[in-house]
C-alpha cells in the first residue's frame, strides 16, 4: 500500500472511529472474505495520544487486510490484533466481535478462544467464559493456564466436580504448581473439606512463599478445621493488595503489556511495585514518563521505584525534579522529605513536609514526620501542635497519641503523658504500643507521682510474652530496677547488649551500656526515652516512601 492510501485508510478509520460509537458499519468487505461480524473502531477522540495511535494503527492494518482480500491467516491476525488491543483496554463490547472473527478465521489457534474466555470472565458471563476455555483447552490439551482458569471458573460457578479433574491433571504433572494447589485449596474450602483445604493451601504456600494471597483462605481453612491459633497467624499475614495466585501465562502477560498509554504504564508499574519487582516497575514508570512528561504521579512513582531498588541518589534527583515541576503534588514533597530525613538532612526534610501539608492540610503522615523532627530538634511544643492537629484530622491513628505522650515527657509533663497513654490503651486495646510506652514511663519517669514500678513490671511481663524486642527488654530491665531488683535488671541489660553486639549493632550496644552502669550501681533509670528510641528514621524510610504511593 502506498503511503497516501495508508493515510487515507487512517483518516477513514478516524472518521469511522468518531462514528464508531454509533455503530455505523465498516466499509463493505472485499468479495472473497467470509461473512464476519462487524468490527467498528471505538471513539478514539478522548483517548490518550499513544493509545489512540495504537488503535488507529491496528485498524489500519485490519482495513488493509480486508481491502486486499487477504487470506484467512492474515485476516485472523489482523482481527486478533484489534481484538486483543481493545481487550487490553477493557473495551469488551468492541473487542468481542474482532476476537470472534479471529477465532472463526483461525479455528486452530487457541489464542482467540482463550482471549474470549477472559473477556467473558471480565464481563461476568461465566457460562460463556467456561465454554471458551473449553474450546481453548481442546486446541491446547497440555495448556496449564487454560486448565487452571477453566477450573477456577467452574469453582466460581459452584461446579466443583468439573473443576476437580482439571486441577488433578495439572498437579499430577507438576506437583509444585502453586496456582493449581491454590485452586485445589479453594475447591476444598468451597466443599467445606477443611482438612484437605489446609493440606492444599499449605502446599501452595510452601511452593511459593511469596504468594501472599494464600494466607487468608488458609486462615479460613484452619478456622474450619478447628485450629484457631493457626488461623489467627495466617490472618495477620494476609495479602492486602487483592493479589491473585495465577499460573505463568505468557499469553496474558503479552496482553497486559500491550497498551502504551500513561495510564497503562501506571497500572503495570504499580503492580510491579506492589510485587517488589523494582526493575519492571522502573521500566514501566519510565516509559510512562516518556509519553506523559507532565504527569507528576508517574514521576513520583518512578522515583519511588528507584529508591526501592536502592538507587537512592537517582531517586533523590527524581523526587526533586517532580517537586520542582509540580510543587502542588503533595506526595512527592513528602517522599522527598522522607528520603532527606533518612540521610540526616532534617532541616531540608522539614521544609518538604511543610510544603506537603500546605498543599494537603490533612496529610497526617507528613505532619507525623514533621512532628518527629520538631521533637528531636528541641521544638517540642511545636511538635505537640502537630500531634493535636493529627488527632483532630484522624482520631483513629494510634501513632499520634503515642508520640504525643513521648513529646510530653520531653516537656516534663509526665502526668499528662501517662494519662494520654492510659486513654490510648482503652481506645486501642489491641495496639501494644500504648502498653509499651506506658510501661516505660511508669518505670522511669523522673516524677515520683507518676512512677509506678509495680504496675510497670506487671505490664511489661505481659508484653514480653508476645514481644521479645530490645525495646520491651529494656523496659523490663527498667521496671525490675525500679522495683529494687537490680541484679535481675543488670542481667537482662547484659543480654540485650550481647544481642546488639552479635547483631552488629555496636551503636545500640553502647547506648544500652548507660543503663547497665546504673543498675550495677543499684540505681534506677530516670530517662524513659532517648531520642534514638523513638522511630528509626532510616529503617522506616522504605515503608514510608512506598506508602506515599497510595496517597494522591
Amino acid at each position: 500500500m502506498t503511503r497516501r492510501t495508508r493515510v487515507a485508510s487512517v483518516i477513514m478509520i478516524v472518521a469511522l472511529g468518531v462514528a464508531g460509537a454509533c455503530g455505523r458499519p465498516a466499509p463493505a468487505p472485499a468479495a472473497n472474505t467470509r461473512q464476519l461480524r462487524e468490527v467498528t473502531a471505538p471513539d478514539v477522540s478522548k483517548m490518550s495520544t499513544a493509545v489512540r495511535e495504537q488503535v488507529r494503527e491496528r485498524f489500519a492494518t485490519l482495513n488493509a487486510a480486508r481491502q486486499h482480500a487477504a487470506g484467512d491467516a492474515e485476516l485472523a491476525a489482523a482481527y486478533g490484533a484489534v481484538g486483543e488491543l481493545l481487550l487490553a483496554a477493557r473495551y469488551l463490547d468492541d473487542a468481542e466481535p474482532a476476537l470472534l472473527n479471529a477465532r472463526e478465521l483461525a479455528p486452530k489457534d487457541a489464542t482467540w478462544p482463550y482471549f474470549l474466555a477472559h473477556l467473558y470472565r471480565l464481563r461476568g458471563t461465566l457460562d460463556q467464559a467456561a465454554a471458551s476455555f473449553r474450546d481453548a483447552l481442546a486446541l491446547q490439551p497440555d495448556g496449564v493456564p487454560v486448565r487452571i482458569w477453566l477450573a477456577s471458573t467452574y469453582i466460581d460457578q459452584g461446579r466443583y466436580d468439573e473443576a476437580q479433574p482439571l486441577l488433578d491433571a495439572v498437579v499430577q504433572r507438576d506437583p509444585r504448581s502453586t496456582a493449581a494447589l491454590f485452586q485445589l485449596g479453594r475447591l476444598a474450602l468451597a466443599r467445606r473439606d477443611f482438612p484437605r483445604a489446609v493440606s492444599m493451601l499449605e502446599s501452595a504456600a510452601r511452593s511459593d512463599p511469596a504468594a501472599t494471597a494464600v494466607h487468608y483462605p488458609l486462615a479460613l481453612a484452619y478456622r474450619g478445621a478447628g485450629r484457631p491459633a493457626e488461623a489467627d497467624k495466617e490472618l495477620r499475614m494476609r495479602d492486602q493488595h487483592n493479589s491473585e495466585v495465577a499460573p505463568p501465562d505468557p499469553v496474558m502477560d503479552r496482553l497486559t503489556d500491550l497498551l502504551e498509554g500513561p495510564q497503562a504504564f501506571e497500572v503495570r508499574g504499580t503492580d510491579a511495585l506492589n510485587r517488589g519487582e523494582w526493575t519492571k516497575a522502573i521500566d514501566s514508570f519510565q516509559r510512562g514518563v516518556e509519553v506523559a512528561p507532565d504527569n507528576p504521579l508517574l514521576r513520583h512513582r518512578l522515583a519511588t521505584a528507584l529508591f526501592m531498588a536502592g538507587n537512592v541518589d537517582e531517586a533523590e534527583r527524581q523526587f526533586v525534579d517532580v517537586a520542582r515541576r509540580s510543587p502542588e503534588y503533595a506526595p512527592a514533597q513528602y517522599s522527598l522529605g522522607v528520603l532527606l530525613e533518612s540521610r540526616g538532612r532534617d532541616a531540608e526534610a522539614a521544609g518538604r513536609y511543610a510544603a506537603a501539608v500546605k498543599e494537603q492540610p490533612t496529610y497526617v503522615q507528613a505532619r507525623m514526620r514533621m512532628a518527629g523532627i520538631l521533637r528531636r530538634s528541641g521544638r517540642a511544643n511545636e511538635a505537640l501542635e502537630q500531634y493535636e492537629e493529627i488527632m483532630k484530622i484522624d482520631p483513629r491513628l494510634p501513632d499520634a497519641p503515642i508520640e504525643m505522650a513521648i513529646t510530653l515527657v520531653r516537656l516534663k509533663r509526665y502526668a499528662e503523658a501517662r494519662d494520654r497513654l492510659i486513654t490510648g490503651m482503652n481506645a486501642f486495646p489491641d495496639h501494644p504500643g500504648f502498653a509499651r510506652a506506658l510501661a516505660r514511663l511508669l518505670a522511669a519517669a523522673p516524677d515520683d507521682r507518676v512512677r509506678d514500678g509495680r504496675r510497670a513490671l506487671a505490664l511489661t511481663q505481659t508484653l514480653v510474652k508476645a514481644d521479645q524486642s530490645t525495646e520491651v527488654g529494656e523496659t523490663l530491665a527498667m521496671s525490675l530496677a525500679e522495683t529494687g531488683r537490680f541484679s535481675e535488671a543488670a542481667a537482662i541489660q547484659r543480654d540485650l547488649i550481647a544481642a546488639a553486639q552479635n547483631g552488629g549493632r555496636a551503636d545500640l550496644a553502647a547506648q544500652l551500656q548507660e543503663n547497665l552502669t546504673l543498675y550495677e550501681n543499684h540505681r534506677a533509670c530516670r530517662t524513659p526515652w532517648r531520642d534514638e528510641d523513638v522511630g528509626d528514621v532510616s529503617a522506616a524510610a522504605p515503608d514510608a516512601i512506598r506508602a506515599a504511593v497510595a496517597a494522591r
Partner: protein, 579 residues
C-alpha cells in the same frame, strides 16, 4: 497498592442496559407480572437530579437513597425521596447535563391509601413537602428513620454530601430541623445511617457511615486505561471515619465514636445494618466498606464495640479480596434462627452471601448459592431479604446500575443503566433468578441505587420503592395478593414499645408454627443502600392457615409470647401486653 484510575475497577463488564448477552424475555401481560411500577399513576412523580455537568464529580454516581415511613401515624407508609443539586460553588443550573424536571429538594409524599368496599386498594401520594417544614436542599445521599424521642412519631435523619440533617416529627404533619442542637450534623460525605439502641437504655442511638474525605476542590481527574475521562474509583480518596452518636434522651446526642468503637480504622462506608449476629441479645453493626475490608462491630455489652469482621469471615471474600460493597442486608434466609448477610458488589465481583453459623462466624457461600455467578455482570446497590411470594423463605431483590460508563460507551449522557434482579429462595441454600417472570419493570434498565421495602398498600405482600440516579422513582407494587391462584397466608405485626409506642428496631420475632419449623425475623428499617424501609414485620406463612404463636425478644432482652396471633391482617403488638 491502589491506583487512581478507572482501571482500578478493572473487571468492569459491559452491562449497559443490563447484560446485553442475557437479556430476559418479556414476562407477558401486566396482569401476570409479579411487580408493576405504579409510581406515576399514584402521584409519585419524581426524577432524581445529580447535578452532573461533565466534570465527573465523584458524588454524582452515588445517590440517591429512598425512605418508607409512616410519618403521620395513619397506618400506611409514606415516602421520602432524596434529591441532589449542582455541585461546585461556581456551577450553574444551566450547565447541568440533564434538565431537571422536579424541584431541587428532598420531597415528602403522604400516602392517602384507601381500601375500597370490594377490598381493592387505591394508592395516592400527595407531595406535602412544602408544609412539612423539611428543607432538604443539600446534595442528598440517603435517609434513615427512627423515633429519637420516644413519642411514637417517626423522625428523619438525612445524610448528605455536606452537613446531615435531623428532623424531629412535630406530630402534626410538620417537622423541625433540630440538627444543630442534637449534635448530629456530621459535616462529611455520609451515605447510610441506622438507628439502634446499642446500649439498651431505651433510646435510639445513631450510627452514620461516612464515605470518603472529599471536597469539590480536591476532586481528581481519572481515566480508563485508554485515557478516557470518567469517574474515579473510591480508592483515590481517603476513607472518612464513621460516627456513633449516643442518644442522651433529651433531644441531643453525644459523639461516642472514639470511646465506643475500639481501635480500628474506618473504611469508605456505604451500607450499614444493625442486627444481633452472635445472638447474645445485643445489637451489632455491620458496615459495607467500598474497596476495603468491611467492619463487623460486635457489641461488647459495655457501651463499646470491637471489630471482628476478619475473624468472623465477613471482612473480605473467601479468597481474601476486598470488594466494592455497597448495599447490605441481614436476614435469616435459611431459616436456621440466625441472621445471614448479603452484600452487593461491583460488576465482575458478584454479590456476596455470608452464612451465619449461629455464633457470629460466617462462611462465604456466594458461589455455592448461585448468587455470586448470577450477579457478576451487575453493579448492585439497594438490596434486601424479603419474602415476595409469602412462602416463608426470604428471597432477594437487588437494584443495579454501573458507576462507570462501560469502556468504549459514549452513547447517552449517563450510560450506567442496568436492570433489576429478583432471586427466589429455593430453600436449599440456593437461589433462582426469576427476574424474567417478575414483570416488565425488571427489564427496564435504570441507574439503580436506593431501595426501600415494605407493604405500601397494606395488602399483605411486600412492595419495593426504588430510587434511580438521574432517573424516575419507581414503585414496584407486588401483585401477589391480587393475582389469585393458590392462597398464601401471612402474618403482619408492628412491634411497639411501652414508652411512646415507638417501633422497636432490634426486636426479634420468632413465629412458632404448628407442624413446621419456626421462622425468625427482626424489626428494622435499615440496610439496603442509603434507605429506610418499613419497620413492620411481614412473615409469609405459605399455604398454612393456622394461627401461629409469636415470641418476641425486645431490644432490652425481655421475652414475651403471644399465644395466638391472627393472620392475614396487620396488627400491633405492644410491649408488655402479651396474652
Amino acid at each position: 497498592m491502589l491506583v487512581a484510575l478507572l482501571a482500578a475497577a478493572v473487571v468492569s463488564a459491559i452491562g449497559c442496559g443490563g447484560s446485553a448477552h442475557e437479556r430476559p424475555a418479556s414476562s407477558g401481560s401486566p396482569a401476570a407480572a409479579w411487580f408493576v411500577d405504579r409510581a406515576a399513576e399514584t402521584g409519585l412523580r419524581f426524577v432524581h437530579f445529580n447535578g452532573m455537568s461533565g466534570a465527573h464529580y465523584f458524588p454524582e454516581v452515588m445517590p440517591p437513597g429512598v425512605g418508607l415511613l409512616d410519618f403521620d401515624n395513619d397506618g400506611d407508609l409514606d415516602v421520602y425521596l432524596v434529591q441532589g443539586r449542582m455541585l461546585g460553588a461556581d456551577q450553574r443550573i444551566d450547565q447541568a447535563t440533564m434538565k431537571r424536571s422536579t424541584p431541587l429538594s428532598g420531597r415528602l409524599f403522604r400516602n392517602d391509601l384507601t381500601v375500597n368496599a370490594n377490598g381493592t386498594r387505591t394508592l395516592r401520594f400527595v407531595d406535602v413537602t412544602d408544609r412539612s417544614g423539611i428543607r432538604a436542599t443539600a446534595y442528598g445521599m440517603g435517609v434513615a428513620a427512627g423515633d429519637i424521642d420516644n413519642d411514637g412519631w417517626i423522625d428523619l435523619y438525612l445524610t448528605n454530601f455536606g452537613a446531615n440533617q435531623l428532623y424531629r416529627n412535630n406530630r402534626d404533619g410538620t417537622f423541625t430541623d433540630i440538627t444543630r442542637e442534637s449534635g448530629t450534623s456530621n459535616v462529611a460525605f455520609s451515605v447510610s445511617a441506622t438507628f439502634l439502641d446499642y446500649d439498651r437504655d431505651g433510646w435510639l442511638d445513631l450510627y452514620v457511615a461516612d464515605y470518603v474525605r472529599y471536597t469539590i476542590e480536591s476532586d481528581r481527574p481519572c481515566t480508563d486505561l485508554a485515557g478516557v475521562r470518567g469517574y474515579c474509583p473510591p480508592q483515590v480518596y481517603t476513607a472518612a471515619p464513621d460516627h456513633l452518636y449516643r442518644n442522651r434522651g433529651n433531644g441531643t446526642f453525644e459523639d461516642v465514636t472514639n470511646r465506643a468503637l475500639l481501635g480500628r480504622s474506618f473504611g469508605r462506608g456505604l451500607g450499614v445494618v444493625a442486627a444481633d449476629f452472635n445472638k447474645d441479645g445485643w445489637q451489632d453493626i455491620y458496615v459495607a466498606n467500598d474497596g476495603g475490608e468491611n467492619l463487623l462491630w460486635v457489641n461488647l455489652r459495655n457501651g463499646t464495640f470491637r471489630d471482628e469482621a476478619l475473624t468472623a469471615g465477613v471482612a473480605v471474600t473467601a479468597d481474601g479480596h476486598t470488594e466494592a460493597s455497597m448495599g447490605v442486608d441481614a436476614g435469616d434466609f435459611d431459616n436456621d434462627g440466625d441472621d445471614d448477610l448479603v452484600v452487593t458488589e461491583l460488576n465482575g465481583e458478584g454479590s456476596n452471601l455470608y452464612v451465619n453459623d449461629g455464633k457470629g462466624l460466617f462462611e462465604d457461600r456466594s458461589a455455592a448459592s448461585g448468587l455470586g455467578p448470577a450477579t457478576l455482570p451487575f453493579t448492585g446497590f439497594g438490596t434486601a431479604w424479603f419474602d415476595f411470594d409469602n412462602d416463608g423463605w426470604l428471597d432477594l431483590l437487588a437494584v443495579n446500575g454501573r458507576v462507570q460508563a462501560a469502556e468504549g460507551t459514549t452513547a447517552g449522557t449517563f450510560p450506567m443503566q442496568q436492570r433489576k434482579l429478583l432471586f427466589r429462595n429455593t430453600r436449599n441454600g440456593r437461589f433462582e433468578d426469576v427476574s424474567q417472570q417478575a414483570g416488565a419493570i425488571f427489564e427496564e434498565p435504570q441507574v439503580g441505587r436506593g431501595a426501600a421495602f415494605g407493604d405500601i398498600d397494606n395488602d399483605g405482600d411486600e412492595d419495593v420503592l426504588v430510587a434511580n440516579d438521574t432517573g424516575p422513582t419507581q414503585l414496584l407494587v407486588n401483585t401477589l395478593n391480587d393475582r389469585g391462584g393458590a392462597a398464601t397466608h401471612w402474618l403482619g405485626v408492628r412491634l411497639v414499645g411501652t414508652a411512646g409506642r415507638r417501633d422497636m428496631p432490634g426486636a426479634s420475632v420468632e413465629v412458632i408454627r404448628a407442624g413446621a419449623p419456626s421462622l425468625w425475623r427482626r424489626v428494622h428499617a435499615d440496610g439496603s443502600y442509603a434507605s429506610a424501609s418499613d419497620p413492620r414485620v411481614l412473615v409469609g406463612l405459605g399455604e398454612s392457615a393456622d394461627a401461629p404463636r409469636v415470641r418476641v425478644q425486645w431490644p432490652d432482652g425481655r421475652v414475651e409470647e403471644w399465644k395466638s396471633v391472627q393472620i392475614d391482617r396487620w396488627q400491633t403488638l405492644v410491649e408488655g401486653t402479651s396474652r
